[in-house]
Symmetry: C2
Subunit: 412 residues, 2 copies
């Protein structure tokens, strides 16, 4: 399975400053007092931007705003608030996004279509932007390049730790940096999975190529995780490229055939997966990370659907929470996926142990070994469908009583 150390990831990594990207946070009192809930991210020179958003048919007002300006492909700043999703807020919601974008644009002397917005928190509560827009000018004054940790903190809702990741890639003999932050922690389902993630690099890349890199990297990371199968109205992933590494001598990446393309795209994918797994790891109430690996499906698409059927099954997830090697529920989840499967060719592994083969329990099955394996904090479940070469991996967490406690009391 994917090697992943939760302990090191719960510790926020050292994020090297990215020249030209400054940030500041404030306690705007949007929902609770005494916690940072406003982030202003500032690009000193206009950056290229790529993004993907929730597939919800009821997207939030900020998602509408970002989608509308993405074709322009240029960004000067990002305003993010936590505590209120500004979703299902009708005209008031649009007034709030317009006011925020106009104020931020005025502060940064740019166009409103160069200001990106994101909100996360309770749905349906009108967001009064007049409460915090006056903070944007002083935040611009305070903004510093080394505030990634504070930025990651300000966008948290039910997250238990701030999420960050950084990568360096050598392009044309020079290091370029990719820094990213993300927040979960419920309503995490693919398309997209993380509610909010902002990633920036100093590599010089045009917006359209950046969009391709983002889409492909999200496919095997943010769009391959699920906490509870619920899709947020607010999911937003933005990738910014300032191009400031050009000064060091890094050449612009124009196409997939440029030598820098491959290592850069791979680093972005690696960083996305790191952030996505942190989101799963912090899945509401989750106590174990589960990797579901499907092989032998009729296609990649089919493999991913079967993997998601297992990863979203409450019965599989509660069994893992209870450290019960209930592989019969994996059979059930393969069966309900609606994808091509032949019961009598199906094999199932938990970690290195094959529990079932060719449609029945493995003759070497040992309840003792199985129980021992389930005590691990990371559980690898593989199902081979036995029909083709389609393969996919998805990640989820277990379903615990804590999930119910958190979500039964979220608004209160």
């Amino acid at each position: 399975m994917t090697v992943f150390s939760p302990l090191t990831h719960r510790k926020f990594p050292f994020m090297p400053p990215l020249t030209g990207i400054r940030m500041a946070t404030a306690e705007a009192g949007i929902k609770d007092v005494n916690r940072p809930d406003l982030l202003f991210l500032i690009f000193d020179r206009t950056a290229n931007v790529a993004g993907i958003f929730t597939r919800s048919r009821c997207p939030s007002a900020p998602v509408d705003h970002c989608r509308a300006i993405l074709a322009h492909g240029r960004a000067c700043g990002v305003v993010v608030n936590s505590g209120n999703a500004n979703a299902f807020t009708g005209k008031k919601g649009r007034t709030a996004t317009a006011l925020t974008a106009e104020t931020a644009a005025k502060v940064l002397s740019c166009q409103t279509n160069e200001i990106y917005l994101a909100s996360t928190g309770v749905i349906g509560e009108p967001l009064d932007a007049t409460h915090f827009i006056d903070l944007l000018a002083p935040l611009e004054q305070q903004a510093k390049e080394n505030k990634w940790f504070e930025a990651a903190q300000a966008i948290m809702t039910t997250d238990t730790f701030p999420k960050g990741a950084t990568r360096q890639v050598c392009l044309d003999g020079h290091e370029v940096i990719i820094n990213g932050i993300a927040k979960g922690a419920g309503m995490i389902a693919p398309n997209m999975a993380t509610m909010l993630s902002f990633v920036a690099t100093d590599a010089p890349i045009c917006s359209s190529l950046l969009q391709d890199i983002l889409r492909e990297a999200a496919n095997t990371s943010f769009n391959s995780i699920t906490v509870d199968s619920d899709t947020s109205t607010s999911d937003t992933l933005l990738l910014f490229a300032t191009g400031s590494a050009r000064k060091k001598g890094v050449k612009q990446i124009h196409s997939r055939s440029d030598p820098g393309y491959q290592p850069f795209a791979a680093a972005v994918a690696d960083l996305f997966l790191d952030l996505a797994l942190q989101v799963v790891l912090d899945g509401e109430g989750g106590s174990k990370l589960i990797e579901v690996h499907i092989t032998g499906a009729v296609s990649t698409v089919s493999a991913k659907k079967i993997a998601m059927s297992i990863a979203n099954s409450p019965l599989v997830k509660t069994a893992v929470a209870g450290e019960d090697a209930n592989w019969g529920r994996v059979v059930m989840a393969v069966g309900k996926a609606g994808e091509e499967a032949d019961r009598d060719r199906l094999s199932i592994w938990f970690g290195p142990h094959r529990f079932a083969v060719n449609g029945e329990r493995d003759s070497g099955y040992s309840e003792k070994l199985a129980s021992q394996y389930m005590r691990n904090s990371q559980i690898y479940i593989r199902a081979d469908i036995g029909l083709g070469t389609g393969e996919a991996k998805v990640w989820t967490c277990d379903l615990t009583q804590e999930y119910v406690v958190i979500n039964a009391n979220y608004r209160s």
Copy 2:
């Protein structure tokens, strides 16, 4: 909302004996000792039969058996065991079903294709039929017409109460009876929803018409409920018609234009809904019954998909468990359904209270009224999509800590 009294339903109804249908149960010790886990249902004269089964691609061996013989359309007996699902048991599973059907056929002097089988319980554990087939002959001797309560008890797994329902219909001036039993209580998702249900009538109806009645009635009952979105490998619904009411002077129902068709089909649908709601009411850990009503969708199919998206949302279900009127999560669940929806035409009601209209919170929204409403044991949620006339109702229960406790420890 549908009027439904949980308290009366938790009490097993008086089931009038159905002439020619006898039953007996035994403690075969299949999983646990000291509880009935074997049911033998006997038709003194061959009955007509209709059935529908799980849509799982990994069905149990008994489901395979029943599907194979259903075209024959005639039944003399049913053998049901709880404690072991005989699912994903390979050749051993087929050996067990063959042995059980052969023994029962010998006892009843009929063909093996007139013996129906069902198993419910743990998946993947080989079922040794030699442990209980010797009980079938003595059970045939003991079988009585008035053992519906015992029958309902013997098929229970995690159910907390036995489930039964009865209806009487006047056909040609005579009462005909419909009696049914069912069991849940997890892995309840549509197509089909109840794991096992057996319904019998003395009305005279041919198998093919019985199949139509069954399918239509299941559509708005067993296939409109969900507990946890997980589909069992073993779901089986069988409807038997002995025709013994002919002796009283009831005429055979041959076609939809026969005068008896409509009242009989309506009574079956009503009884199915009764049993289905009992299954939901006893959903693992469930403390509240939730009715989700979608109106204004572009089609009935679309309405049902949106309804299921809400009913299966862990975040909606935990909010109900926490008595939190978190209607924003209903917006989220409409949005993620993938069906046509326009945020700005969406309206949402909880009980009689409209919480949201035209894409934003209702101006008359009162948190106090909302909180009061959520204390009810039955919660009605309506979403009007505002696009068409498509309508559907589905039922579910809330998601509580108890669900996790039950399912984290199911096998142990």
